[in-house]
Amino acid sequence: MVFHEEIDHLTEKTNRDIAPVGHQNASLDAMVLNGLKVHPKKVVRFISWDDEEPNSVYLSLTDSLTAPPDNFEIIEMNKSTGAVARQLAVKEGVMYTILQLHTDLLMGIPGKLFLGLMGILFIIAIISGVVLYGPIMKKYDFGMIREGRSKRLKWLDMHNLLGIVVLIWTLVVGLTGVINTLSDVVQGLWQQGQLADMTAPYRNEKPLHPDSLYSVDLAAKTAQAAAPDMKLAVIAMPGTALSSKHHYAVFLHGNTPLTSRLLTPALVDAKTGKLTDIRKMPWYVNAFFLSQPLHFGDYGGLTLKIIWALLDIMTIVVLISGLYLWVLRLKAGKAQFVRVEGKQVFFQEKEVNHGI
């Protein structure tokens, strides 16, 4: 998962035309029309941008604006000409399956929440490990590994050393992983909270006809004018779960590594083109956004990803050695049980003998 971008780049075919022509950007309205020519029966649900691909704009098309989230096709558009560059094969390939497996075990929301529960158990296991670290290491120096004695002592020491070294990292990755499993909860809270609040004045109006919509390109420019130091991240078309039937929801983000993760929703009336509201996201949405980089380690270049992978390996060693120690303990417990049991049998026999 850590290297998914690099693996995607390796496996993807690069025949696409995103070379800029001139300095002008094509109109988003033209892009939407071009995209719909490829999929005449679909509708555009989202328009999005990627900081890593400054010459591209992405259209997410779906069978209907209220179709399930996994009903989508993505087309990459040339930002300056507005032409279709290529259709993305996001739902194909091993990496997509692995991501789905890692997100919800291919079982949707219940799978996601199950993994969240596993994450909570992971955190409890880590904390219990720290509690044991104190009494075990009381008489020893940090970093002690007893080589050449019993295998159990060596692995106990490895478990303690690696565990305490990666402690904070595992806690952060575990906790942010749990937060990531709450994506549907967070989205629901935002829809029923801030979004409902921002669109409340329009609650009783009739839906707009798709042909009478205000220009999405001008809507984007209006939103950007309200936050000049921010960039476009995503536009949700009117009628989606992330906008309203009367609004374009234009999500903007900042330029620093931190603020680029945080989205700011700006609502533009899809009939008049007026900005009706722009707000910061509530804290729980921002906490969710910040949980993603801290879980996946994709915020400090390839070097950070390599370190992330090393820490992953160290964590796996802690898990396996922990399991090994637990199995030994189980066996020792059984042996003890057998010994006690044996003694009892012995004494019973003695008593029986005495009785005779």
Binding site: E147, D157, L161, L162, W169, P257, T303, I307
Partner: protein, 62 residues
């Protein structure tokens, strides 16, 4: 104080590592370039530290 010294002996390294890890995790999030570099140094220190103690254990093997 003796109890202070034994506390440091037991928890000195873990607390120091916790602080280093936290700074390392945050620095790349809050800034670019130098801050990325700081993050690499601090987080990259963790596997190196483990490697050091593993090699030390091999050397001093009884």
């Amino acid at each position: 104080m003796a109890s202070n010294r034994s506390f440091l002996r037991l928890w000195g390294w873990p607390v120091a590592l916790a602080i280093l890890t936290s700074i390392g995790l945050l620095s790349a999030l809050l800034g670019d370039n130098v801050w990325d570099g700081l993050s690499w140094l601090l987080l990259g220190f963790l596997p190196l530290l483990v490697l050091y103690y593993l090699r030390k254990a091999k050397r001093t093997r009884l």
